[in-house]
């Protein structure tokens, strides 16, 4: 087992000072000698993996942690290398990052902004983490991104789908590989048009918080552009568990499509309730009633069980993709853990690789150098085709998958099938798109 040491100060000072018994004060303020926060001067570098380990998203967090472990293994040269072999950039050698062994600390976000920030702060202040990554909700991602900006470390967002993460709340030190609400809508719209036509009446149920709103705004705009009519947009409390009283009014509303802008437990329950109320068998205006779930995840699909069959949605990535990168990742993840990775696992693995690669290309852990290396970086081989890390908003632009609940699953995780891979060009939007307006990246902060 690894005899690792998780402390920055150990790394920093032991060589020089251990045993001297001298008190040598140093002041870590703007005038300090260090160039940036937590400059790793020893033989190793510490990354902070901040994921939900308790609360409703704990399983997603656990899957993210698995992917992080795998990524660290690959970066340090163990295992089969995974997507390092298919990644278009060949900087990473399997000798850590810039020759420093990669170590990590983990923390629990509890899917609460406060707890997530506390955890991230302890990683920065106590463990000397030079990069923070992870998370499974937009609120947490935005909160931690803000913290990393202030502290002067890089934040590589995990699963966060709100437009705001790289929209009005974007930060110079924060980067998102995952797709967003707008991209979901842009990818889904043409598929929905093909499947259900242009003359539809949509009823929206939306989780009443920021992510829900941006998702609703995006999908409503995209479907209205197809010619669909929006019958009603109803906000549901985040804490709701029984959606029956929100579903019931749909029955007689004249709508023939129900859009569930829900995620996690909300999505599982609202979809289950919608199916219970017989919406799937309903015929309205001479058309079959349809349900759409803009943001899908395999773990959620599992919770909803048979109810997902035939229901369309979008996802960032799926293990059944046949490209070289995806296959390499599924192989090494599956071999290690016995089941295929989720999209959350995929995105955090990619984020870790992308960070490591950017550091290598920049030749420095300085957040400003890393940010510069990531900005406008084009790459391939990480599972979503050719991808661009756009400099203006630190959002990745890549292919988006439209998926459908599988009718005859062969296993516990074989729940979704890819209907279409929407090319990146189709989901790209201008950086000044109104749905993303209102914020500024600011300038990168190296801290210290």
């Amino acid at each position: 087992m690894s005899k690792s040491d998780f402390s920055r100060r150990g790394v920093l000072k032991t060589g020089a000072l251990a045993g001297t018994g001298l008190a040598l004060p140093t002041i870590f303020t703007a005038s300090s000698a260090a160039a940036f926060t937590n400059d790793p001067t020893g033989s190793s570098v510490t990354l902070g993996f901040n994921v939900p380990q308790t609360g409703p998203y704990a399983d997603e967090g656990a899957d993210e942690l698995r992917a992080y472990r795998l990524a660290v293994e690959h970066l340090n040269g163990a295992g089969d290398g995974g997507m390092m072999n298919t990644f278009s950039s060949k900087e990473l050698q399997g000798n850590g990052i810039l020759g420093k062994e990669v170590k990590f600390v983990t923390g629990d976000t509890q899917t609460k902004s406060d707890a997530a920030r506390a955890s991230a702060k302890s990683m920065i202040e106590k463990d000397g983490a030079v990069m923070i990554t992870g998370g499974s909700s937009s609120g947490v991602a935005i909160a931690v991104q803000g913290l990393c900006q202030e502290a002067g470390v890089i934040f590589m967002a995990g699963l966060t789908h709100s437009n705001d993460t790289t929209g009005k709340d974007k930060k110079a030190n924060g980067f998102r590989h995952f797709f967003n609400g707008y991209m979901s809508a842009a990818a889904l719209a043409p598929v929905l048009k093909n499947l259900y036509g242009t003359d539809r009446n949509a009823y929206h149920l939306t989780a009443d918080y920021t992510w829900g709103w941006t998702q609703e705004e995006s999908i409503a705009a995209a479907t209205e552009a197809l010619g669909w009519n929006t019958v009603e947009k109803v906000r549901t409390p985040l804490a709701a568990t029984d959606f029956s009283s929100y579903i019931a009014p749909v029955l007689n509303s004249g709508a023939d499509v129900l859009v569930l802008n829900h995620y996690g437990g909300n999505m599982v329950n609202s979809l289950t309730n919608a199916v219970q109320f017989g919406l799937r068998e309903k015929v309205v205006n001479g058309k079959n009633f349809e349900i759409v779930v803009p943001l899908y995840s395999r773990l959620m699909a599992k919770g909803a069980g048979a109810n997902v069959k035939g229901i369309h949605g979008s996802t960032n990535w799926h293990w059944s993709l046949q490209d070289e990168g995806s296959q390499a990742f599924v192989r090494s993840f599956g071999t290690k853990y016995g089941f295929p990775p989720s999209q959350a696992a995929h995105t955090v693995y990619c984020q870790t690789m992308l960070y490591a690669d950017a550091v290598s290309r920049a030749g420095s852990f300085n957040p400003c150098a890393v940010a510069e290396a990531l900005e406008g970086f084009e790459f391939d081989g990480l599972g979503n085709g050719k991808t661009l890390y756009r400099a203006e908003d630190h959002q990745c632009f890549k292919d988006v998958l439209v998926v459908r609940g599988k009718e005859n699953p062969t296993s516990d995780f074989d729940l979704l099938e890819v209907v279409e891979v929407t090319p990146a060009a189709q989901v790209t939007y201008p950086a000044d798109h109104p749905m993303f307006a209102g914020g500024a990246l600011g300038s990168c902060n190296p801290g210290a």
Partner: protein, 340 residues
């Protein structure tokens, strides 16, 4: 009109769950004087009884099927459940299909047992302690129970379907010449809760056991003086309360996929229900449960939300505040209960 009737149905439905949990809480509070923060966890354990029964029925052996490939490109292992292989696919499939109702049979003894163990092992020592201590210890217990379930079943919701035959919708409006379709299982849930509530009330009303317990709820010391072993009866009541919560949980699983923290989601609401009903009053708890359920359903109607945005987020609390300010001891509370 249809919309309003539908919401009344929804309210009755939500109310059933509130009422069942609140009923158990009130039984425990009324008989033992203990504020049980672990009651939500009992509801959750009940739900996981159903999950477990489903898992057991689905226990499978694997056959390697060379023609299909799994995600790593190896030969796929096809699973067949033992139940299906023993009883044949049709009969076995039917048994698996009826997992939730079957779970009831298992849940009752398991929940009563858990209730006994909880009461004898822990709660018993807290009768004379302050309510604050009771809250702390039962809250700790709730966390522990919850984490144990999470350890074995994960944090994700687990789907547990109702039997095919009870899955569709029924037109309950047909009787009145209206078109009101409603999920069959939710109707089943409502009647189930009515039966349970009715059962508990008649048990307390018509049996000697129940009479003693009711007398004990009113005046514990006097009943103790009569030489009746009230403690043992209270243990049994705790078991019954646990079973009620557990059954509410079992039956709830097809409505919403159970997860390990569902108990906490219900806990706060059911406390509000109990207090609105009046501490220690069983009819109050049931009445408040259904009332709050119906009001919650109405508050989520678009017509009402458009007038009062966000009302569905707070309706329960608004109603609780209004009732507590106008009726000092809730709807049917007795004087002097938990007012210190």
């Amino acid at each position: 009109m249809d919309a309003i009737l539908l919401q009344i149905l929804n309210g009755l439905d939500k109310g059933s769950a509130y009422a069942l949990i609140a009923l158990g809480l009130t039984l425990i509070f009324g008989t033992l004087g203990v504020v049980n923060f672990a009651h939500g966890a009992l509801f959750m354990i009940g739900a996981f009884c159903a999950v477990t029964v489903q898992r057991i029925l689905n226990l499978s052996y694997e056959v390697v099927d060379e023609t299909q490939k799994d995600f790593l490109g190896n030969a796929l292992k096809v699973k067949t459940s033992y139940v299906e292989s023993w009883f044949g696919p049709e009969m076995g499939g039917a048994i698996i299909d009826w997992a939730v109702p079957i779970a009831i049979i298992f849940a009752i003894p398991i929940m009563i047992f858990i209730g006994f163990v909880m009461e004898r092992g822990l709660i018993k020592h807290f009768y004379k302690r302050e309510h604050a201590d009771q809250i702390l210890v039962t809250f700790g217990l709730a966390i522990v129970l919850q984490e144990v379930i999470k350890y074995f079943y994960g944090a994700n919701p687990i789907q547990t379907a109702s039997p095919e035959a009870l899955s569709g919708v029924a037109n309950v409006g047909a009787l009145f010449g209206m078109d009101i379709v409603y999920p069959v299982w939710r109707i089943v849930y409502f009647f189930f809760s009515v039966v349970i509530i009715g059962g508990i009330f008649s048990f307390l009303q018509f049996t000697t056991f129940g009479m003693v317990v009711r007398a004990g709820m009113a005046d514990r010391e006097t009943v103790g003086l009569l030489g009746i072993n009230i403690d043992r009866r209270f243990t049994i009541m705790f078991g019954i309360a646990a079973a009620v919560a557990g059954l509410a949980g079992v039956m709830y699983t097809p409505i919403n996929s159970p997860n390990y923290h569902m108990g906490m989601d219900f806990l706060v609401l059911s406390f509000v229900v109990v207090v609105v009903g009046g501490m220690g009053s069983l009819p109050g708890a049931v009445l408040a449960g259904f009332m709050l359920g119906i009001l919650e359903a109405f508050a989520s109607m678009n017509e009402i939300k458009s007038i009062l945005p966000g009302i569905d987020q707070i309706i329960i609390y608004v109603v609780a505040i209004i009732i507590l300010l106008t009726r000092p001891r809730g709807l049917m509370g007795r004087k002097g209960v938990m007012e210190e």
